[in-house]
Each structure stands twice: as structure tokens, then as C-alpha cells.
């Protein structure tokens, strides 16, 4: 068994799996049940001036019979009295000293930040997370993503927090920006010990086509909410990797967004996350999903020969580069395994209508499609639509050309192979 101990910006937890600041981390009883189930840390539901919430609050995107591949909410920060929250945090810390408890905060004025930080530290919490990310409701009041979208304000509030805090400070970033880098840098300049990302993405989840109102419907109206869940993982992974590979960005990342199982968590870690936070999947399936996350990560680390989880943090960063550095002479073509092919011709239609018209119906009865390898551009579309695992593989072609990127072609005149499928 590998060592799963995690250090994210000075916050230590027995494993990298933390509850994200959200309903699953709303109260002491919940967080304690989560720790009992195996979670290594919890970022408490954001504290600030307690708010009043609406009914209903959540919506979901379903696709092809799968419920809630994406999720959306118009919930605000905590609606519970601060005294109660702080007393519970202190209780959790007393009973679970080895687990990480991070207090998420969102207030307005410098004085409010000073007060709430002091009260948070007094609970014995392990760290703070500044919520600069909430993209609905709170931003209308000048907080949340309204802060996260302004690097100058972000840096300033972060520096206040650092000034008042004796425990590590993470800054939770919003993905509702064109480029994540200036925002990560602002947090770093403000002195943050790490960043958490992503918070939710501004969205309208669906529209009630009978009542002519977007969802989730609050009486006769609705508002835009925050998108999260499995569907947002690619956006979150990109932002995580983007910061992690930036040479000027040197503080740890807590990865969030669409983590549903150990695999997703490993992907975040490979792209630079030291810890991983989960909200939606816990809301949908419960704290118990962490058993598989811990076990799956352990098996993965053992199988790959890593002694500790920290060894994989950032392992895929060297493999994440600019388009201009990709090898244009690397050539692949689709190969179909005739043994396992079931003859659905999904690859045929996808290639004909959506790619390069080079997979053809079999003229015999066999219904194993024929790939015209001279025309196949190796795009992957057929492999993506094929319902049979490992039936279509993309096989490397030894075309005799030395590796050459676009940049090398422009700057050094490197020779490119002839284009395929471009007539």
C-alpha cells in the first residue's frame, strides 16, 4: 500500500480526497460521517453573513438515459448561524485531529475578513479557503466570482487574509474567466499558500418548455446557476494543468470539478493537483464513494510502482504542451478487429458524415467495415463511436519521416509528411 498522505499548501490530510465546500460539508454531523467513511478532509460550506435560499435550487443535465451527467445549482453560501458553524467545526477538529478541516469564507469588508478569519482560526481549523468563485447570487452582491474575476481585488483580499491568518490560505478560483493564469498569479502575489479550482461555471441548465421558464424554477422565474458534476471535468482539468505547467506559478493546487471516482482523481493529480475535492458526485451517491476512490488510487499506485500519492502530482505536465510543439509527422490509422466487430456501422456513418469518408461498408456479407488506410487521417472519431471496447485501435504508421512540429517547421524548416485526406 502506497502512502496517501497529502500536503496541499501546508494542509495535511491522510489522503488527497476532500469534500468540496458545498452541501455535503454543511454541518458537523455530516463531516464526521464523511470522515468515518474515509474522506481525508473537508472544506466547510462557505461561511459569511448567513443567507436565505430559494426552492428549488438544483437542476441536472441528462444524456442518453444517464441522469445528471451535469449538475447546476442556484444555492448561496451557508444559511446557518455562524456561531453554530464555528462550534461544530471546533467539535469536528477535536474529534478528528488528523483530518483536514478547511473553512471556506466569503465576506465583503476588510473588517469582516479580519473578524471571520480570527473566529475560523480559533476553531482549530487547518486552513482557510477564500471563496472567490461563486458565479450566482453572491456575485450580484459584489462577492464570489465578482472578486475572482478581478485579479487586483483577488490579490488585495488574499493579502488581507494572509495578514490576518496564521494558518494556510487557499484561494478558490472561478472558471468564469477567459484565461485562468492572471487569476492564479493574483492569488500567488497576494501570498496564497495554494489555489483550489474550479468553482462552478455560469450556466442555464435547461428550460421548462411548457412553462417557458428556465430551470431550476422558483415559482415563475429562474436565474443562471453554477454548472458542475461529471460534465465539467475537462474544463477543470485544463485550468488545473494550465496553472501547474506555468513556470511562474509555484503554489499547490487543490483540483475540483467533475471528480466522480479514483480515475478522475488520478487525472487531476497527474495534471498537478495535490488534493482533490468532490461535491456533486457525493451529492448524487453519498460519502461511501470514497471507499473505491481510496482503494482504486492505492491499487493504481501499487501497480505503477509509486510509493506515495505525492509522486504522481504533475506527472502528466511534461506531456501537456502547445499545439505548435506536437509532432505533425506522427501518423496513425484506424484498424478494426474483425473478431470483435459487431457490424453496427456506427463508425461508417461517423466517418462518412463527420470525418473523412474513409471507412466503407463491407461489400461482402461480413459487415466488418473496411478502412481505407490511404485516406484515414487517424482522427479517432470511429474509435469514439464504436460500442465494442478495443475493437477499433489507432495504430502508428512508420512513414519514415523524422518527428517535426509546426514550430520546428516554421523556425528550422523541418520537413512535414504529405497531408492526408485534404483533397
Amino acid at each position: 500500500m502506497a502512502d496517501l498522505t497529502t500536503n496541499c499548501g501546508g494542509i495535511i490530510s491522510p489522503n488527497p480526497f476532500w469534500l468540496a465546500s458545498a452541501p455535503p460539508a454543511n454541518s458537523g454531523k455530516q463531516v464526521m460521517r464523511a470522515f468515518d467513511a474515509g474522506w481525508g478532509g473537508a472544506v466547510w460550506k462557505t461561511l459569511g453573513q448567513p443567507i436565505q435560499n430559494v426552492s428549488s435550487r438544483f437542476g441536472a443535465t441528462n444524456y442518453g438515459g444517464t441522469a445528471a451527467i451535469g449538475f447546476n445549482n442556484i444555492e448561496l453560501i451557508t444559511d446557518r448561524p455562524l456561531d453554530v458553524n464555528f462550534a461544530e467545526i471546533a467539535e469536528v477538529k477535536r474529534l478528528y485531529p488528523k483530518h483536514a478541516v478547511i473553512v471556506s469564507l466569503m465576506v465583503e469588508t476588510r473588517q469582516e475578513w479580519q473578524d471571520i478569519i480570527k473566529r475560523s482560526i480559533d476553531t482549530g481549523a487547518d486552513g482557510l479557503e477564500l471563496n472567490f468563485g461563486c458565479p450566482h447570487g453572491m456575485c450580484e452582491r459584489g462577492m464570489g466570482s465578482a472578486v475572482g474575476q478581478e485579479p487586483r481585488v483577488n490579490e488585495e483580499i488574499t493579502s488581507w487574509a494572509k495578514e490576518y491568518s496564521s494558518i494556510p490560505v487557499l484561494v478558490k478560483l472561478t472558471p468564469n474567466v477567459g484565461d485562468i493564469l492572471p487569476h492564479g498569479h493574483a492569488a500567488q502575489r497576494g501570498g496564497a499558500d495554494g489555489v483550489s479550482l474550479i468553482n462552478t461555471i455560469k450556466s442555464i441548465i435547461s428550460v421548462d418548455i411548457d412553462r417557458f421558464v428556465p430551470n431550476p424554477r422558483v415559482g415563475s422565474m429562474s436565474t443562471n446557476g453554477g454548472y458542475c458534476g461529471a460534465a465539467v471535468k475537462p474544463i477543470a482539468l485544463h485550468m488545473c494543468g494550465q496553472l501547474a505547467r506555468d513556470p511562474g506559478f509555484n503554489i499547490p493546487i487543490s483540483g475540483i470539478g467533475g471528480v466522480t471516482n479514483w480515475r478522475d482523481a488520478v487525472e487531476f493529480m497527474l495534471l498537478g493537483a495535490s488534493s482533490v475535492q468532490v461535491c456533486t458526485e457525493v451529492m448524487l451517491k453519498g460519502y461511501r464513494i470514497v471507499e473505491d476512490m481510496i482503494e482504486g488510487l492505492n491499487e493504481y499506485l501499487d501497480e505503477k510502482g509509486f510509493a506515495s500519492a505525492s509522486e504522481i502530482v504533475g506527472k502528466a505536465i511534461p506531456g501537456y504542451s502547445e499545439w505548435g510543439n506536437l509532432d505533425l509527422n506522427y501518423e496513425t490509422v484506424a484498424k478494426i478487429d474483425s473478431e470483435s466487430c459487431i457490424g453496427c456501422y456506427k463508425c461508417v456513418v461517423a466517418c462518412h458524415d463527420g470525418a473523412h469518408q474513409c471507412i466503407h461498408p463491407n461489400p461482402d456479407d461480413a459487415r466488418v467495415p473496411i478502412v481505407d488506410e490511404d485516406e484515414c487521417v487517424g482522427c479517432n472519431l470511429c474509435q469514439i463511436v464504436c460500442p465494442v471496447p478495443d475493437c477499433i485501435s489507432l495504430v502508428e504508421v512508420a512513414n519514415g519521416f523524422a518527428p517535426a512540429s509546426w514550430n520546428e517547421h516554421l523556425n528550422e524548416g523541418a520537413v512535414l509528411r504529405p497531408k492526408k485526406g485534404s483533397h
Binding site: W262, E295, G296
Partner: protein, 434 residues
């Protein structure tokens, strides 16, 4: 460990329920709702965390999936194949209430456990040596599950088995279209791999070794001897060649190569699961005419209806409300006299002759518990050894489980009771687990 011979009649069968490939397993696993407090778990006698092992298949954590299964049921591989899932876990899957196809838990469990066997994953180690030893009577599912758990708790184990193979009815009884004897032998080896289980084959307790010797040899005992021999009707002609007890015949069919070429018409007497299995086995081995003779009505037979429906599709014939009163023939069986019964199972006075050259009696098995009846503290009811929840008999240090204690249920019950008894024995021996 002795393995079954290559040449066996049972090898002519293929699996009636096919193994999943990866695509099928993933599609089915992703369909599971991951219910909380899931009814399927409650329906499993070993309480396997079904939603959890299925989710682990879906996430690609196959090792974890198998670990989840085996930690609740070390015989999870054979159970995946032989459990009557339609009446257990699958029967209680919440999808039934939606009138949607229930999750194929058995097939998913087979997928996971077969991979674990193929890859030779091992999940358990023997506990630190307790210095105490337990003797287990019988080498069937109950004793194997008990011995494995006892080894995890650090106790030395000796299994005494009167046959030349371990596995009990998993090796000698279950229908070959569910599992064959060689696969049962694989499981036995897999279980024994924990080490420290001494196996004494060909040793019959009560005959080769006395109770007194056994009790002085070990610190505790587990009685997992299953059921006794096939019952007979006690009517004329049962000693004719061609008349067999069904369980006996099934054992021969599973472990030997029988010549059935001359059998034109076979009769199976009984209406339980052994009878239905025997009917399907005879049909599968090419016997042209196979008739089940049962004293009750079709709706009242104790064999599973879903299995009997399949048997009918395969060509099974039946005589309801009938009972053989004589087996006749010169030297070997030629005909059976079948008396008609009324709804109260009383003879109507009518009788008919049924030509037959093979008859299998599947009217139940004797109970072995009687061999314990003379021991102080042991209560035997209808041949069944009475035990507390933890398998304890009234005699200190003597525990029982499986068919011998439950009167004849399924492999999974034997596994559950064996495991529970192991914990009971551990507590008795002063272990700190309870």
C-alpha cells in the same frame, strides 16, 4: 489436491448462463443504481456489498471489486455461478419493482471473481498463530468457508473429508451447466492457498476416526458434513440395476464418464431442485425421453419454477400426482408401476406402467445429524443439528453449519454459516473478535 479426471460426462455441457465480456459487464455495471441500504444485499445470505462491488467494476477497480466480494464470501466465485439468484439478490433488485430487467448480479460477480482467479489475486493472509486447532468434519462449502475464516483468525485447521475430493456438493452435485467439478477444484485450491489447512482425504469421521479421538485432538470442532445418502421409496424392485439415488448418479455423472447410449427412457422421481437438475442433465446428455414423476401438482413442486420452465423447453415430460409402487424387470429395470394420487396425495386406486431403463430417485436425502445425537448437549431435530446464530451446538466447542444444520439449503447459506461459525469458534477459543 486431487483434481477430477479429464473424462467426465459433465464436460459435455456448456454454461447455460454465459460469462460476460468486458463490454457487457460495463454496460450492466453502469446500469446499477448503487442503492443505499440495498435490498439485493439483504437478500444475499453472505451480505455481499453488491452496489459497491458493481460500482468498482464500473470504475475499473476490478481488484477492489473482487476484494469486496471475497471479504463477505470467500466462495464468491462458485456462488456467482450456482446461486439461485432469481430467488435471492436478483429477485430483490429494485428494478423488478419498475418492471425493468433486474441487474444481473450473478453474472457481474462471476466477471469479477473469474478475473481475480485468472490473475491469481490473493486478498487474505493467515492471522498470527493462536496455538489452537480446529477440526472440520466434511470438506464442503460450509467447512471451506469456516476453515478460511479460522485461518484468518490464526487457528490451525484440519479438514476431514470421506471422499477423495474436496468441495462437497460443489464438486459432486451442482449441475454442470452451472459449474463443473474442475472449476470447483480451482476454488478449493484458491481457498487453501491461505495456507495452514491440513486436508485429510478419504477419512470418514465416526468410522475411520472416532468422535472421542477427534475431540481430544482439537480445541474445537466444526460439523459440516452436509446431508446423508439419497432416500429410497422402500418399494419392490429398487435394487434392480438401473435404479439409482439421484445425488449418487449426479456424482457419477460429474466425476466419471457414463455410458448412456442404451438409455431410451429415463424417469426421475421427485419434484425438488435435485429432480429438476437430474431431468435437465439426462436431457442434455442425449437421453431421448425423460419423465419427471411427482406426487403433487406442478404448481406445488418445490423445484424452482424458472428452472422447471427451462426443463420443459428442453423437452422434459411429466406425470403429476403419481408415485412409483414397484420397479420391475428381469435383472435390470424395464418398467415402473406408477400409482395415481388425488389432491391430498392419497392413492386413487388407479395405476399405470411406465417403460423405463433408468430411474433416479430424487425424493430427498437422509440427514447426517443423527450421528451426533448420542453426544451430550447436542440437539438433533429431524436429523438437523440445532445451532445458535453463531453455529454453536449445545456441546461446548462443537459448532455446525451448512446443510447438516439448516436441513439443506444452498451453497451460499453454507458459506455464510461456515463463516459465522468460524467467528463463533474464535470467540469460544478466546479470540478478541466476536
Amino acid at each position: 489436491m486431487s483434481r477430477p479426471p479429464e473424462q467426465r460426462s459433465e464436460t459435455r455441457f456448456s454454461d447455460f448462463k454465459h460469462a460476460y465480456n468486458e463490454a457487457q459487464a460495463l454496460a450492466e455495471a453502469n446500469r446499477c443504481l448503487y442503492c443505499e441500504d440495498a435490498p439485493c444485499i439483504q437478500a444475499c445470505p453472505t451480505s455481499i456489498d453488491i452496489p459497491e462491488f458493481i460500482r468498482k467494476i464500473a470504475t475499473g477497480n476490478l481488484k477492489g471489486s473482487a476484494r469486496t466480494i471475497f471479504s463477505s464470501n470467500i466462495l464468491g466465485m462458485s456462488c456467482a455461478r450456482v446461486c439461485p439468484v432469481e430467488t435471492l439478490c436478483v429477485g430483490d433488485c429494485v428494478f423488478n419493482a419498475m418492471e425493468a430487467p433486474p441487474i444481473q448480479i450473478g453474472k457481474l460477480q462471476r466477471y469479477s471473481t473469474d478475473i481475480a482467479f485468472d490473475k491469481e489475486w490473493r486478498f487474505f493472509e493467515a492471522g498470527p498463530d493462536s496455538g489452537q486447532s480446529v477440526g472440520l468434519i466434511g470438506g464442503g462449502p460450509a467447512s471451506l468457508a469456516a476453515a478460511h475464516e479460522l485461518r484468518r483468525l490464526g487457528h490451525a485447521c484440519t479438514i476431514y473429508e470421506k471422499r477423495s475430493v474436496l468441495g462437497g456438493l460443489n464438486s459432486t452435485g451442482v449441475a454442470p451447466y452451472k459449474m463443473k467439478a474442475d472449476r470447483a477444484a480451482d476454488e478449493v485450491e484458491w481457498v487453501l492457498a491461505i495456507g495452514g489447512i491440513d486436508v485429510q482425504l478419504g477419512v470418514e469421521i465416526g468410522k475411520d476416526v472416532s468422535w472421542a479421538d477427534l475431540e481430544s485432538e482439537h480445541d474445537a470442532l466444526f460439523f459440516g458434513a452436509g446431508l446423508g445418502p439419497d432416500r429410497f421409496l422402500k418399494v419392490d424392485g429398487e435394487d434392480l440395476s438401473g435404479v439409482f439415488g439421484a445425488v449418487d448418479w449426479i456424482e457419477a455423472m460429474k466425476l466419471q464418464d457414463l455410458d448412456l447410449a442404451s438409455v431410451r427412457s429415463a424417469v426421475v422421481v421427485g419434484g425438488g431442485n435435485t429432480a429438476v437438475d437430474a431431468v435437465r442433465e439426462l436431457l442434455g446428455l442425449g437421453v431421448p425421453k425423460v419423465t419427471m414423476v411427482y406426487r403433487g401438482d406442478e404448481a406445488k413442486m418445490s423445484g424452482y419454477q424458472h428452472e422447471w420452465r427451462e426443463a420443459k423447453v428442453e423437452g422434459a415430460l411429466s406425470i403429476w400426482r403419481g408415485v412409483p409402487t414397484a420397479f420391475t424387470g428381469s435383472g435390470k429395470l424395464e418398467s415402473i408401476t406408477v400409482a395415481a394420487l388425488n389432491a391430498d396425495k392419497k392413492p386413487t386406486g388407479e395405476a399405470s406402467a411406465l417403460p423405463a431403463d433408468l430411474a433416479l430417485l430424487a425424493i430427498g436425502q437422509g440427514k447426517l445429524g443423527d450421528m451426533l445425537g448420542s453426544l451430550d448437549g447436542v440437539t438433533v431435530e429431524w436429523g438437523r443439528v440445532v445451532t445458535a446464530e453463531d453455529g454453536a451446538t449445545g456441546r461446548p466447542g462443537l459448532y455446525a453449519g451448512g446443510d447438516a444444520a439448516n436441513g439443506g439449503k444452498e451453497v451460499v447459506n453454507a458459506a455464510a454459516e461456515g463463516m459465522r461459525a468460524a467467528r463463533g469458534i474464535d470467540a469460544y477459543l478466546g479470540g478478541d473478535r466476536g
